[in-house]
Amino acid sequence: MTEIWHSLTRAVELIVSLDPGVIEVVGRSLRISGTACLLAALICLPLASVIHFHHFRGKRALTNVIQTLFFVPTVLVGLFVLVLFSRAGPLGDLGLLFTPTVMTIGQMLLIIPLLLGLTISALSGVSKEIVDTATSLGASGFQAGWLVLKEARYAVLAAVLLGFGRAISEVGCAVMVGGNIRGATRVITTVITLEAGKGDLELAIALGVILLLLALIINIVLNRLQQR
């Protein structure tokens, strides 16, 4: 019990003193997951509007596939990216394996279905009359799409935040394609795994607390958004 208490107090010290090791890892995590989330949003928001506004055969099936992929295991995405970027793989010549770039790609792929599906639902929530009115007033398809995205902005933002939460808290993909290399590809979750295994609980707990704080912040923002 004393050991746990000692680890906890050391963890708080590490956070309060802005320990360089902690800052480095947290910064990298935020950078990788933030970029992944931004890129995923840039892909998903237009794509979701396209899917939402067009009626085509298999739209229902597509939505089902997207929703199934909400729960795709992180290690499966990791495996996919690993095979793709391994030296023997089709994109191996890029030499991206075990870099933050490939981790970003992995996390982006991981959260694209979530963002896409939730954005489509968010758009479905917007009254159809708005689109009809806009179109009758001479708005182009693009303008109408933009309008609906704006109407649904809080729900869309909530989707993006959820995507970020999934990206920053995943460990399977990050450790497989990042390799958990010190000073290069270690992020919050992979360091927690490594340090806890080594029996060095202080750093693991400190990073765990930070991850929880991040989750709390995301949650507060989400709640605020949903109340609007």
Partner: protein, 303 residues
Amino acid sequence: MKKILPKMSSIVLIVILLTTVLGCGEQTEPEVLRVATTTSLDDTGLWDYLEPIFEDRYNADLQITARGTGQALELGKSGDVDVVTVHDPLKEAAFIAGNYAAIAENFSAERVTWAYNYFIIVGPEADPAGIGNLTGSLAPQEAFQKIQQEGKANPDTVKFVSRGDESGTHGREKAIWASAGHNYTADVVGDGEADGWYVEAGTGMGATLAMANELMAYTLTDKGTFLAYQGDLDLVPLVDEGDILLNVYAAIICRNGSHYQMANNLVNFLRAPDIQALIAGFGAPEYGEPLFHPWDPEICGLP
């Protein structure tokens, strides 16, 4: 949705209850023995091979977790495991000195050696640091010096991947750096990471070999794991002589663990003549040569 959820949860509950009840059908409950092993003994498949034999012989349920030696000994200190099978003489001595080990009955000692092989330095066939032609008893040290010099000059082509996980192999790597006249923390980790030629993986032997293979880098590995993974690797053995490369596996019973009698059974088992014969032949059909040598008092020391 609201109506389905309670139904779903009750079905899940029933399934869980059923599997628990059905799972308890055996007559005599096997005794659980928890073992933390160095990853090399697990990655090679040796424990997969020996586990069922031991379980049958002693009606035991062997629960094996593969860690680096440092982590395995930590688990042993806290009593989270009952036995450790490791390969880092220095860390083992500290473990025993710290009074965390128990005496193995038949051997009147804490540390019982039971197999050995050698570490080797492997790397890409092109061998950009030119270590493949080194010979003599100091070849490993000279190889490390060359890797450090060439890595500093050309960090893009000459890289070294370290386990970086306080494992037995990592311990040996540090010993070779020290013996080669380098300060590990400053020259190797500090400068090496800044220059980009030294890569700390923080993972097991199999995964480290895979990473070295991806990066076309050098690494230090036990021979057994390398042979077991060789089929998937483009890396070749470059340095395999030098006294510092001897790799001895030992079993230690943990004082803070439980199941002391069963733990003794495991230690006796590892040194039993029939099991030693199995270890001596393990891997030979698949890999052309055995992955481990059986216990040899001249090489491993007594007991």
